[in-house]
């Protein structure tokens, strides 16, 4: 698949924003590390919903006809893309109510209710984003429960790193936040490691034989019927070189998980919030590489009509 930058940017940013919001609510609810100061809860909350907003806005940049984008809220009964739109918009009033009531410091029951509903909607939104990909039978690299598992765990891990940096800057007890981040780091790293292992060993799915119906002979494409590329070859024809893919897998795992693991240790040891921020930058660099690979490594079955032997 062609890795479109706007979609990479959107999924990484809004996933982290939604994960961050859910963690802010839970951290505040459980008074993690003695409880974050109010201003930190508020401003990280604002950052979270800004990230979601910027992400959603950037996702409209890949639309060829954004004039009709409002219609995307209509088919939530069947389409995961529509569900994502509906849920992410429903998330906003509850998230804003939570932060607003936090700022005004009033109506704690309503505040908690709004926070809980917004958290639930944040989870459902990340799940919907992942299901956009996981529901496609045409792309076996995506058609697996590991995809929503990865989106949820990576969104919470990257959002949790922002919360950790905020906790360190606020000077509250950092250990619970570090433990939370460590736990999420391992879950996300394991899910991605299993995903890479899995897609390398999927076995045979659709082949050029099932695509043409000639299942008892060797089939070879002689001519695709066009002299230059088409929409199909541009959208689905991208092939990432094997060596590049392997190198990027290692780089993304290193930047997203190994570097922050080491930095978390030193940040805790030497009480250095700056290391938390460096870890945060490393995580996001790793996630951009991870998301680029997520698209680049996926193989659409239509390639069987453009020369691929199996998908």
């Amino acid at each position: 698949m062609h890795p479109a930058f706007s979609v990479i940017f959107f999924t990484v940013l809004s996933g982290a924003g939604l994960g961050l919001f859910a963690l802010i609510y839970l951290a505040d609810l459980f008074k993690l590390g003695g409880g974050l100061p109010g201003a930190y809860v508020f401003w990280t909350g604002v950052l979270a919903i800004a990230m979601v907003g910027v992400g959603l806005l950037s996702s409209t940049f890949h639309l060829a006809n954004p004039r009709n984008a409002w219609r995307a809220f209509s088919r939530w009964r069947t389409s995961w893309l529509s569900r994502e739109g509906v849920l992410s918009v429903a998330f906003y009033p509850f998230a804003l109510a939570y932060l607003g009531l936090y700022w005004l410091d009033m109506w704690p029951v309503v505040r908690h209710f709004s926070g809980a509903v917004a958290t639930l909607l944040a989870w459902l939104t990340i799940f919907s984003t992942a299901m956009i990909y996981a529901s496609l039978k045409t792309i076996r690299h995506w058609n697996t429960p590991l995809v929503p598992a990865a989106y949820l765990s990576l969104g919470h891990f990257s959002g949790g790193m922002i919360l950790l940096a905020a906790a360190m800057l606020a000077g509250v007890q950092a250990l619970p936040f570090v433990m939370l981040s460590l736990f999420q780091l391992f879950v996300a790293a394991f899910v991605k490691a299993i995903y890479y292992y899995w897609i390398d060993r999927m076995g045979v799915g659709s082949t050029i034989n099932t695509a043409t119906g000639f299942t008892r002979a060797q089939v070879k494409l002689l001519d695709a019927g066009h002299t230059h590329g088409t929409f199909l070859t541009q959208e689905f024809g991208y092939i990432v070189p094997r060596l590049t893919a392997t190198a990027l897998r290692l780089i993304s795992m290193f930047l997203a998980f190994a570097v922050p693991l080491v930095l978390l240790y030193f940040a805790l040891e030497y009480h250095a919030p700056v290391l938390g921020i460096v870890a945060l930058v490393s995580v996001f660099a790793g996630l951009v590489a991870e998301r680029w690979l997520f698209f680049a490594e996926a193989r659409h079955v239509v390639n069987l009509y453009h020369g691929a032997q199996r998908c």
Partner: protein, 232 residues
């Protein structure tokens, strides 16, 4: 009704006439124009509803070139319709034709991701997804003679490799020919239940290619000798 096409791979000569006539009709049809990018440039490209691929099946000497036209299969379980977030993609209840409402499409490409047959192409000029309409603006047109109320590709095919009809009617031409010639669908394992069917090439005896082998008589040996001597 369940309208669709049957494509006879035994007689398709791969002339691309169906694709050209499709483009001609639909460029001014309900989903037209079908934009071209750099049509006279070094890298011509554009929107087509119908594309013909050419395959080699089997290995020499038992090989055969198969010309393979493909357009929308108007699937019974069309994922392109269920994934569409705007409701622009729809499948008509009355005849099963899958269409895109050009006024509702936002150009997100998601339906093209869900289609295994590459039937949908984004028009960069209009920003909307376009696809085979089964010439819906032609097959119901009372103003043209009844014999011509067929998709443009079917009418134009010089080899009569394309047939159009109702698959729900067991006595229609398409249903009969699919039964008799063991018509099949593409990638059945994905479960889209395509309406369009393909007829496999008839089995022919392989043409012997080893004339002038060891068993050749004097005439054969002479032929071999002449073939060696005469340079093309």
């Amino acid at each position: 009704m369940r309208l669709g096409l049957v494509i006879d791979l035994d007689v398709c000569v791969g002339c691309h006439a169906c694709a050209v006539s499709c483009k001609q009709w639909n460029a001014s049809g309900t989903t037209g124009p079908l934009s071209d990018y750099e049509p006279y440039g070094a890298e011509p490209s554009g929107v087509w509803f119908n594309r013909i691929r050419h395959y080699e099946v089997g290995t020499y000497p038992n090989n055969k070139t198969i010309n393979f036209p493909m357009s929308c299969m108007h699937c019974e379980d069309a994922d392109c319709v269920t994934v569409c977030p705007t409701g622009a993609s729809y499948k008509r209840a009355e005849d099963g034709i899958v269409l895109v409402d050009q006024d509702k499409c936002m150009g997100c490409n998601y339906c093209s991701w869900a289609c295994p047959y590459g039937a949908r192409e984004l028009d960069r000029e209009s920003g909307t997804m376009k696809k085979c309409t089964l010439c819906v603006d032609r097959i119901y047109d009372q103003a043209i003679p009844e014999a011509e109320r067929q998709p443009s590709c079917v009418l134009t095919c010089p080899a009569h490799a394309r047939m159009f009809g109702d698959f729900d009617d067991p006595n229609s031409e398409v249903s009969k020919v699919v039964r008799e010639r063991e018509g099949y669908v593409l990638m059945p394992e994905l479960g889209y239940n395509p309406t369009n069917h393909y007829l496999p090439p008839r089995k022919h005896k392989p043409i012997p290619t080893d004339i002038g082998g060891d068993k050749a008589g004097l005439a054969g040996k002479l032929k071999q000798f002449v073939n060696r001597m005469v340079k093309r």
